[in-house]
C-alpha cells in the first residue's frame, strides 16, 4: 500500500521503537509488518475485511487505555505502537489459554499439525499448561462432512469467522454461518445441507487451524514430508499459481500461492482437485517399437534411430508434406516452439497442429485485456456462461470487481448481437469484454462497436487448456508462424490431417503429448492405422501409444520444466515437482534429439532455458517475459 502513495501523504508512526511510514488508512497490522514486527493473527486475513474477533493481535497503543486490535485499528500520525511489552505478552498467553479451553489437542492425528497457527502461536506465545482438565472439555462433533470435498472438525474450530467471511466477501455464496451462541457456537450450513460451491477447496487453506480439511488430503501426508514446488495449475488456461506439494513420487495436493495478477490467492475446486489424474499408475514407462517380431521394448537410442529413420524414409519417398505433426496444448512453450520448428524446418511439412478446433483467425487482440485489469474496467461484458465454465476462478474476479470495486458486470446471453449489447453499455470509460474463444468473433465485433466516444474496449478470451495460448503464440498451427505471422502456404488443420492419414495421403504421423480430446476422437485410431509410420511421445497409454510404430515415454505437466502462457498472455514457469518413474530424457530433449537424428541443428541445448532464448529471438514479445509477465504485443506488431 505504502509503496504506491506519494511520500508527502504517508503517515509516520512508531512500532517497537522503529519509525515506519505507511499509507493513510493502513492498519496497525500493516505498519507492524512494514516495521518487520510479527503480530500473530487468526481472524485477520489479507484478502478479508477486519472483524477483530480472535483478539490474538492486541497491541499497546500509547494513549489508549486498553490493548487495541492491530488488525482493525487504523494508523494515525505519531502513533506509538508496542508489541513486545509485558502486558501484551500476558494477554497473548491468556488469550491462547481461552482459545485452547475446549480444543481437543489432537495434533498428532490432525492434518494441520506442523502447519497450524494454533500450534505455532501456542509454542511461541502460549501457556505450556492448561488449567482446564481434559475430562472437563466441552465436546463437539468431529469429522463432519460438509460436502464430498470438505470435512469439518467442530472441536478444533476457534471461531475466527474466516470461512464465513470468505463465503460472504470472496464468493458471495454465504453457505456457512455460525450457529448457536457462547460456548456452543459452531460453524455449520443450513440444516446440514452439503456445500455446493465450486470454490470449497479454499476453505481449509484460510482456516488457521485444523477445523476444515480436504477430504482428498485427509491423513495423506505430514507437511514436513512434502516437497513444495512453485508452479502453475495445469487445469485450464487461467494459469493460477500453485504450490505442488509432492510426497515421494506422488502429488499430495495443490495449494494456492497468491498471484494478485491472476488468481488473487484463490483456486477453483476443479483445478485444485485435478491432481489425482497426474498420479495415475498406468504410464508409458519405456521406449517401444513395432518390429517384425511384434511390439518390443527397445533402448532410447534405438527408438530414436528408428523414429528418425522412419520419418526420413517417408520424407524422401513422398516428400515432407506426407508427414503430419500433432502436438497438444498440454505442451510447454519450449516444446511447442521446438515441435513447430521440427515440423517446418526439419521434416518440411506445413501440416501441423495442436487442437481439433481450427483457428483460422487469431491475433493478440484476443487477449488485450488482462485478468486483473477486469477490476479497472468501468463495465465488463461477459458473453454467456462459457468463460466462467472454462475458468471458474474468473467468477471470483468478476465478483470482486462488482462488489469491492463497484464495477458494472453485464452477463449477457447468446446470441451476442452488437445492437442489443451496445444498448446496455452506457457512458464513457474502460469496457472489458470477456468471452470464450469460441465467441471470439462476437467479442472482437463488440470491441470495434464499443470503442470510441470516450470509451476504450478490450477483449479477454478464455481458452481450453493450460497452454492453449502459448501454442498459438508460438505458431503450433498450420496457418500461423510464431508471433502471429501468417504462414505463407498454410497446411491442413488437425482434423484434415487425420482425414488425410485415413485416406492414405498422409503417410507418417508424429504425435506428441496427445490431449484427452484427441484421444477421445474416433478419427485418431483410424488415422494412426492408416499411416505407415507413427512416432508417438505419450505419458499415458491410450489410442496413440497403442498404435505407435515407435513409442517414447512422455512426461506430465508436473514432471516438466519450462513455461506456459495463460489466457491473458502471461508467460509463467512450470517446474518439475515430481520426478518421473523412468530415467529417459524429457519431452523437450526427445524433440531436440529427434531433430538432430534427422540432421537438424537446433543451435542450442534442448533445455528449457536455451530453447526459451531461441523462441524469444523468433518472437521478440517473449523477451524477458518468462518471469511471469504479459508480452507487449502491440510494440512488436
Amino acid at each position: 500500500m505504502a509503496d504506491t502513495a506519494p511520500a508527502s501523504e504517508l503517515v509516520t508512526l512508531e512500532v517497537d521503537g522503529r519509525s515506519v511510514e505507511v499509507a493513510p488508512g493502513s492498519l496497525v497490522w500493516d505498519a507492524c509488518e512494514r516495521a518487520g514486527v510479527f503480530v500473530p493473527v487468526y481472524c485477520a486475513h489479507k484478502k478479508l475485511e477486519p472483524v477483530a474477533v480472535c483478539r490474538m493481535c492486541l497491541v499497546e497503543v500509547q494513549g489508549m487505555p486498553k490493548l487495541q486490535p492491530a488488525c482493525a485499528t487504523r494508523v494515525s500520525p505519531g502513533m506509538v505502537v508496542r508489541t513486545a511489552t509485558e502486558q501484551v505478552r500476558k494477554f497473548r498467553d491468556s488469550n491462547l489459554e481461552f482459545l485452547l479451553l475446549n480444543h481437543p489437542l489432537d495434533c498428532p492425528v490432525c492434518d494441520r499439525g506442523g502447519e497450524c497457527d494454533l500450534q505455532d502461536f501456542t509454542q511461541r506465545y502460549g501457556p505450556g499448561q492448561s488449567r482446564q482438565s481434559i475430562t472437563e472439555k466441552v465436546h463437539f462433533n468431529k469429522a463432519v462432512p460438509l460436502s464430498d470435498k470438505i470435512i469439518l472438525d467442530q472441536e478444533r474450530c476457534i471461531l475466527c469467522w474466516r470461512c464465513v467471511r470468505y463465503y460472504e466477501e470472496i464468493t458471495g455464496e454465504r453457505e456457512i454461518v455460525l450457529q448457536e451462541r457462547g460456548v456452543h457456537t459452531l460453524v455449520d450450513t443450513f440444516e446440514h445441507q452439503p456445500l455446493r460451491s465450486e470454490f470449497q477447496g479454499n476453505l481449509p487453506e484460510i482456516c488457521p487451524v485444523g477445523a476444515l480439511t480436504h477430504a482428498k488430503y485427509r491423513f495423506r501426508a505430514r507437511p514436513w514430508d512434502l516437497r513444495r514446488t512453485a508452479s502453475i495449475c495445469s487445469h485450464c488456461s487461467y494459469g493460477c499459481s500453485v504450490f505442488v506439494d509432492a510426497r515421494e513420487d506422488q502429488v499430495a495436493r495443490y495449494a494456492s500461492s497468491d498471484n494478485p495478477d491472476v488468481d488473487d490467492s484463490w483456486l477453483c475446486d476443479r483445478g485444485r482437485y485435478s491432481f489425482p489424474e497426474l498420479n495415475r499408475k498406468d504410464r508409458v514407462l519405456s521406449p517401444e517399437a513395432a518390429t517384425a517380431g511384434g511390439r518390443q521394448v527397445v533402448s532410447y537410442q534405438d527408438a530414436l534411430g528408428r523414429a528418425a529413420g522412419q520419418l526420413l524414409r517417408v520424407g524422401s519417398d513422398n516428400g515432407g508434406e506426407a508427414i503430419g505433426v500433432i502436438g497438444s496444448d498440454l505442451m510447454t512453450n519450449e516444446e511447442a516452439f521446438l515441435l513447430q520448428w521440427l515440423a517446418r524446418d526439419i521434416i518440411g511439412t506445413p501440416h501441423l497442429g495442436h487442437r481439433l478446433l481450427p483457428a483460422p483467425e487469431i491475433s493478440p487482440l484476443d487477449f488485450e485485456l488482462g485478468i486483473a485489469e477486469i477490476e479497472e474496467c468501468d463495465q465488463v461484458v461477459v458473453l454467456g456462461p462459457l468463460p466462467e465454465q472454462l475458468a471458474p476462478v474468473l467468477t471470483l474476479r468478476l465478483f470482486k470487481a462488482g462488489t469491492k470495486r463497484a464495477r458494472k458486470i453485464l452477463r449477457v446471453e447468446a446470441p451476442f448481437t452488437v445492437a442489443a449489447i451496445r444498448k446496455q453499455v452506457i457512458g464513457e470509460g474502460r469496457v472489458g469484454v470477456v468471452a470464450a474463444e469460441s465467441d471470439r468473433e462476437a467479442a472482437l465485433k463488440l470491441r470495434t462497436a464499443l470503442t470510441g466516444a470516450g470509451r476504450r474496449c478490450e477483449v479477454l478470451t478464455l481458452m481450453e487448456r493450460v497452454n492453449s495460448r502459448g501454442c498459438q503464440d508460438l505458431g503450433l498451427l498450420p496457418g500461423w508462424l510464431p508471433g502471429y505471422r501468417r504462414a505463407p502456404s498454410p497446411g491442413m488443420e488437425l482434423p484434415d490431417i487425420l482425414e488425410a492419414a485415413i485416406a492414405g495421403r498422409i503417410k507418417a504421423l508424429l504425435v506428441v503429448n496427445p490431449g484427452p480430446d484427441l484421444e477421445a476422437d474416433p478419427r485418431l485410431e483410424a488415422a494412426l492405422k492408416g499411416a505407415e509410420v507413427t512416432v508417438v511421445v505419450a505419458a499415458f497409454p491410450g489410442v496413440a501409444s497403442r498404435n505407435a510404430t515407435v513409442l517414447l515415454p512422455g512426461r506430465t505437466i508436473v514432471e516438466k520444466a519450462g513455461t506456459v502462457t495463460n489466457a491473458e498472455g502471461r508467460v509463467q514457469r512450470v517446474r518439475t515437482a515430481v520426478e518421473p518413474k523412468f530415467a529417459f530424457p524429457s519431452d523437450l530433449k526427445i524433440l531436440g534429439d529427434l531433430a538432430r537424428a534427422m540432421g537438424g541443428e537446433l543451435g542450442a541445448q534442448p533445455l528449457a532455458g536455451p530453447v526459451y532464448d531461441l523462441l524469444a529471438r523468433a518472437v521478440p514479445a517473449y523477451r524477458g517475459a518468462q518471469a511471469g509477465l504479459r508480452p507487449r504485443w502491440e510494440a512488436t506488431a
Binding site: R174, E175, I176, V177, L178, Q179, E180, R181, F190, E191
Partner: protein, 176 residues
Amino acid sequence: MSDRDGAVPAADLDPAVVARIRELRTLYPLARSAVLPALWAVQDRIGYLPAWSEEVVGRELGLLPADVAAVASFYSMYFGRPVGRHVIQVCQNVSCALRGADDLLDHLRGWLGVDGEGESPDGAFSLEGTVECLGACGGGPMMQVDRYSYESLTPERAEAILTEIRETNPEGPVGG
C-alpha cells in the same frame, strides 16, 4: 437444531403471518433488521421455528435461510422444536451462578419432574437447561418464564411463581 420435526407443515402457515413479515420488511432500511420480529411472528403463531419457517423468512426478506438460522439459533428465546405451554429459562451466567443459579436449576428439575431439560410430565412447562445471560445480572439468580423475568429467586419463590402461572394461565404463554 437436529431434533426439529415437521409437526407443523409449511403449507399450514397462516397467510396473515406472511403478510406480517412483508409488512415488517418495510419498517427497516435493511432487510436483516426485520429478522427478529419476523421470527417472532412465526413463533407466536405456531409455537416454535421449524426449519422451513427459516426458509420462509429468508425468502420473504431476501436473505439466505442459513442467515436466518444463524440468528434464530443465537437467541435462546427462539425454539427449534415444539415446547410446553410455558417455557422456563434459568440463567447460568456468572452473576447468577455466584448467587446460586445451579441450586435453583437443580431444585426446579426435581420439582417439575424434568430430567435435564424438556417438558414436565403434565405438559405445563418446558425447562430449558443451560441458558446464557438474560440481561438481569443485578437480580440474580433469575429465570424467565415465557416473556417475563423473575429476579432474586429462592427455590420457594420460584415454586410459588410457577404454581401461580400454572393456575392462572393454563392455556398458553404469559406476557407478549
